[in-house]
């Protein structure tokens, strides 16, 4: 057997042996080797002593209400989970690049709703008792337009009278 201490490559065999986790066949080989190898025997003695010393560190008793605390915490988390889910959705949605598009869609939707639900007055229809104010410039513009229309109406008859034979001579 290759010496575990001198080779250094398989020194864990000694650790396993001291921890009683080595299989019987390899343990027997190591025991045979240790009879002749002082280094391995010394390593074994020191490691075994350390193993025994470390056993002196006891584990402390488990807290009696450990499980109860965990289940209470789980119950509290379950109670809050619905609100947390919504918060997460909002938080993650805020980070997404699609958010401006969603915002624009919501704005359009709000506009449409506003158009269909606002009162008639808002659509530009005058109220029944609305007061009209007529400026002098408006009257002049209306008279001028009427004169133009009258002139256009007379235009074909004027043209016809110019095309008579007397006129052609």
């Amino acid at each position: 057997m290759k010496c575990p201490v001198q080779s250094g490559g398989n020194a864990e065999i000694l650790l396993d042996y001291c921890a009683h986790s080595l299989d019987a066949q390899r343990a027997a080989l190591l025991e045979q080797h240790m009879v002749e190898c002082a280094d391995c025997q010394a390593f074994h003695d020191a490691q075994s002593a350390l193993w025994t010393t470390m056993d002196a560190w006891p584990s402390y008793p488990e807290p009696p209400d450990f499980d109860r605390k965990i289940f209470a915490q789980i119950a509290a988390e379950t109670h809050q989970s619905r609100w947390r889910q919504w918060r997460n959705v909002i938080e993650t949605a805020h980070m997404q690049p699609a958010m401006p598009i969603v915002g624009a869609c919501l704005a359009v939707l709000a506009g449409l709703l506003f158009q269909t639900t606002r009162p008639a007055a808002a659509l530009g229809e005058p109220p029944m008792h609305a007061e009209f104010r007529v400026e002098p410039s408006d009257v002049e513009q209306a008279e001028s337009t009427l004169e133009d229309l009258e002139m256009l109406r007379r235009l074909p008859s004027v043209a016809a009278s110019r095309n008579t034979p007397e006129n052609s001579l």
């Binding site: 002593a49 350390l50 470390m54 002196a56 402390y60 807290p63 450990f66 789980i74």
Partner: protein, 215 residues
């Protein structure tokens, strides 16, 4: 329902062998803990209680030895199991359950040590614990002198282990007190098996020299 949970319906417990595995008809042996965890995923709180029962002690003791503070160890142990519960929805039995559990525990413990959380509430090694609990297992047959000698010994072990680098300390505690395999420790510490062996070899070498006078 996933393929894994489907196989559970055909699983038969290997009771007579006393082995903690379920033999599935497809030939895949599913670890008992993984099976319980899959049931937790399906909403079974009793299975979670069983998992707690099985692993509460080892996790608390490991964390206690890591942070060397009872209150912080309990707080961290609770966080470990809460994380396990919160992860139930995404749990897949790809690795041994204990490996996953100790990975969470080690991660939390090392973070607490780095944050100085354990230091803030440090128990004095020279004084009794605040809640009156005794560190030493009470043995009425021991004389006062023997109790004191034992106390000194335990304190020195604690100090020696505490002085080890984080990874060496974690490896030693998992190897010596939790009896985890090299492969499991490697997965927990996210390193190779040969690195774990090297860590352990160096850690035990340090401890042998520091605690040699007890032998």
């Amino acid at each position: 329902m996933t393929a894994t949970s489907l196989t559970l319906e055909t699983a038969q417990p290997q009771l007579d062998a006393g082995v903690d595995t379920y033999i599935v008809t497809s030939g895949i042996a599913l670890e008992r803990d993984a099976e319980l965890m899959l049931r937790v995923r399906e909403g079974c709180s009793t299975s979670f209680a069983q998992l707690l029962e099985r692993h509460r002690g080892p996790v608390i003791h490991f964390l206690y030895r890591m942070v060397q503070n009872q209150a912080v160890a309990e707080e961290l142990a609770q966080e470990v199991f809460l994380r396990v519960y919160r992860s139930r929805g995404t749990y897949e039995p790809t690795a041994k359950f204990t490996t996953w559990l100790f990975r969470i525990a080690t991660h939390l413990a090392l973070n607490a040590i780095r944050d100085g959380k354990a230091e803030k509430n440090k128990e004095s090694l020279d004084n009794e614990q605040a809640d009156g609990a005794v560190r030493q297992v009470a043995d009425r047959k021991l004389s006062v002198e023997q109790v004191l000698v034992n106390q000194v010994k335990v304190d020195e072990i604690r100090r020696s282990i505490q002085s080890l680098p984080d990874k060496q300390r974690s490896a030693v505690l998992m190897h010596k007190y939790q009896e985890l395999e090299y492969s499991q420790i490697a997965k927990v510490l996210n390193c190779s098996e040969s690195a774990v062996k090297s860590l352990l070899f160096r850690a035990y070498e340090t401890l042998r020299s520091k605690l040699a006078h007890f032998s």
